[in-house]
Amino acid sequence: MTENHEYLHVRGRIFDIQRYSIHDGIGIRTIVFLKGCALRCRWCCNPESQSGEIEQMRVGGRVQTCGRDVTVQEIMETVRRDMPYYSRSGGGLTLSGGESLLQPDFAEALLRAGKSLGVNTAMESMGFAEFSVIRRILPYLDTYLMDIKHMDPAKHREWCGRENTVMLENARRIAESGQTQLIIRVPVVPGFNDTEEEISAIARFAEELPGVEQIHLLPYHNYGEGKYEGLGRPYPMGKVARPTPEKMEALRAAVTGKTKLLCQIGG
């Protein structure tokens, strides 16, 4: 192993790898889920992603360990197995979480390894980090799928545990860097942001970011409910109905009516 391949030995903590993911970025992708998050969004469908610690979760009667420490090289052993599918579909590697930026060295090394394989790279993140951290990653990142959940800092803190100021500022700086394709993603959560006004406010902000052309509206779902139970935690959302297709369509119409952004429902 030569000196400049040292990044392959960087270690990090993940909780899952998902292959044949086709709804997160272009083409057929492999998603690496990094463990640890700065927020505690009530609707989070991966509660096992939140703590940076390795923990136990009960799944279908058996106890599963969530979280393992691996090197970039180990991850790439799996990622490279799907090379034929990436080449055919334009897909590649996606980092998700958790918030990948909480493990900046690991995230950077993973994306770098992805680029050296020649595959498309993407990262789902809400941009919760110093911009100096993000700047290190941008050269290796084709698409930044950035979550913006709300424009109101107080409501953001109430539902996610933190204000959104840093993230909005980072969104602007990422866009201005021109180094990556920035796509804004909005989880549409009943009672939180599912009004035309709130979604439009995010869309207007997104439209002003240089180079941003797309916004994705992701309807809330309760697939994660069982995991809360498995972790012995209450489900913060309680019984909330998912947004109806008609509702989502109305929100999409609001976005396309008020901005020039391409707006799609789902990833």
Partner: protein, 845 residues
Amino acid sequence: MMRTMFDPTPVAKSERITRLVADLFRKMPEIEAARAELITESYQNSEGLPETTRKALAFRHILAGLPIVIRPGELIVGSTTIAPRGCQTYPEFSYEWLEAEFDTVEHRAADPFYISEETKQRLRRANGYWKGRTTSELARSYMSPETLRAMAHNVFTPGNYYYNGVGHVNVHYDRVINEGLTGIMAQTVQALKRVRAGDPHYGEKRRFLEAVLISCQAVIDYAHRYAALAREEAGREQDPGRRQELLDIAERCTWVPEHPARTFAEGLQAFWFVQQTIQIESSGHSISPGRFDQYMYPLYAQDTAAGRLTREQAQELIDCVWVKLNDLNKCRDAVSAEGFAGYSLFQNLIVGGQTPDGRDATNDLSFMCLDATKHVFLPQPSISIRVWNGSAKELLMRAAEVTRTGIGFPAYYNDEIIIPSMENRGIPIEDARNYCIIGCVEPHVPGKEDGWHDAAFFNMCRPLEMVFTNGMDHGELAGIQTGALSTLTTYEAFKEAYRQQMAYHIELLVNADNAIDRAHAERSPLPFESCLIDDCIERGIPLQQGGAHYNFTGPQGFGIANVADSLYAIRTLVYEQRRFTLEELARAMQMNYGQGFDETTATETAEAVAKALTEAGTEVTPEIIGGVIRQVLTMELPEAEKKRYEEIRQMIIDLPHYGNDVDEVDEIAREAAYFYTKPLPQYRNPRGGIFQAGLYPVSANVPLGKQTGATPDGRLAHTPVADGVSPTSGYDLHGPTASCNSVARLDHADASNGTLFNMKIHPTAMTTERDLEDFVSLVRGFFDQKGMHMQFNVVDRQTLLDAQTHPERYAGLVVRVAGYSALFTTLSKSLQDDIIRRTEQGFGR
């Protein structure tokens, strides 16, 4: 790259097609007696004549006497039975099973048929003649005692051709369309002239060629019967539109298949008469139309260019042919019916791919054939698509749209591995590039080959069981003695024992197939089918006696996943980690891993006890048998022992399995497949060709699984064996790409008779246009790694479970079974369960 220009614009389905499809399903399929009576009559009057002559005379007698019917609204005519989807019987191949099943065939789980009391009587009368005269009786007399024993122990079953005609060919539809049967007859006359009086085979050749002439004329006369009927019905018809249609039908049937087709509609009618009458001549199934989009294209192009034919008319005519392909039916014995469940005739029709000179073959008809399948939404034809590096993306996307409907079609085939695999068997590149698919998944040279593609099912798990019993099975030596378990001290020794058990049974399989092959050569030469395949006429030899240009025998093995997982478990847990011994594993398997025994085990045990008692001279009473059965069914192991076996099974289940992209396991799978594929090509068949392996089970993995005890991969006794080259149901947990990578790691080129890979995809992964593009990329990514075949069930588990509970609501639900699709509700419960179990591959969170 040069490309044929094509127009992919879809044409809407016509009102007529909706009606024709509805009419097909008004009644339960029925068995009719006419053919059996006619062939028997003819044979009674032709005693002593050469077999080829007798066949031709019988064919003529049947076609002259079979009731004919034009169904309301049909444009393409020719029906084998009075009632739609009915079937005739073929006592010359075998009949005992049907008589034995007369009273159960209507109510059996798989493919029931109605049969009237009158039909039963008529069939009994006709069948009586055939005692001692069938192909199956002759075949049996040609088999070695060891072969019969291996068959009795269900190591393999050659049932398909043992009890039926062979079929499994693609004939020169193009020649009948372009030259007419008169063209074929002219060639035959020329060949007759060339047979010299001094030729040592003068007599057989002359008789065969004369039989060809009789048979061709019989088909022409049959078409003329339809022409007369259409004219007669036109005379009575009140609706002027329909009257004109009937007159057009009459004109077409007067002209084709006798003469070269002048229009696209005539071409289709000529095609249909060939397709139908081959299936009257013999009961062989998988009469595959093959490259329909290629040989029908010139007439389509000519008519559309001349303004005689609109795309709407062309589509409706094609749709009509698709309906006719579903009008034919076949009644099989109860066991085979489970193995081929779903009333399928496996008439495989393939679009796309390359021309013989290596260019992309996509044309308008490639799209229209896929659309026809969407329109009729029925199990026939088994539609397939050839994919190569230069395939038109539009065609693959259209195929993906059909896949999305959940009908299980099309099956996808990879030119980039199939063509080299055929060349490796000595087929020149132009013929290899022109391949079509027969039946389920079998690559075949159109119009030139007798591939005997479905020659047997070979259960690769049974020889593995015999390693554990030193060749013993159900109380007698069925395999060979590969040594007591204590002598298998290394993994290599164990593997070698398995290889030897396999090699032994493969030779017996060859023996069975060759015996049946000779029986067909002697008792069932088929002059009409033969004359449409090169070089039967030129050589003056029927297909069944080796007249084809290419000859193969292709028996298929299945259970790769079980054997791979078993060998991996044994290597890891017995030899490397020493978690348990072979003896302990053997006992755990014998005790069904502590999970109790089912009735199959109870009956088998009772039979073994009865045999032992009889041999010892003790009388066997019903009380003894009942006692044994009760004892087995209620047997309780000591708690500690039961727990240990469950523990052993859990250790095995916790290991990595084939289908998860784990190199060590997949390498073993590759080696396991070689144990089957490598020995076969060393054997020859009586037609002058070699054996070549296939790796696909049709749906036999379910019934044959019932005859297999617990296996070292943790599989419980009598549950289904893995299908084709697919991973074991429910064991592939890392998504479709991981499954694909595992399957691609097998050497598909060595299984040149075809491999079969089933995948189930959840509908939510095939919703948007982008999903379809990713789906196409999945197929292409698998094919880039030299995978051979892929097929999909796109239906969610919930829907299938609901269909089991409320079959009445899902009468039209078509699912992919194996190399074909079938109506889900017509399948047996156990096969339905197996389909539901196949892992549903979804997408990321």
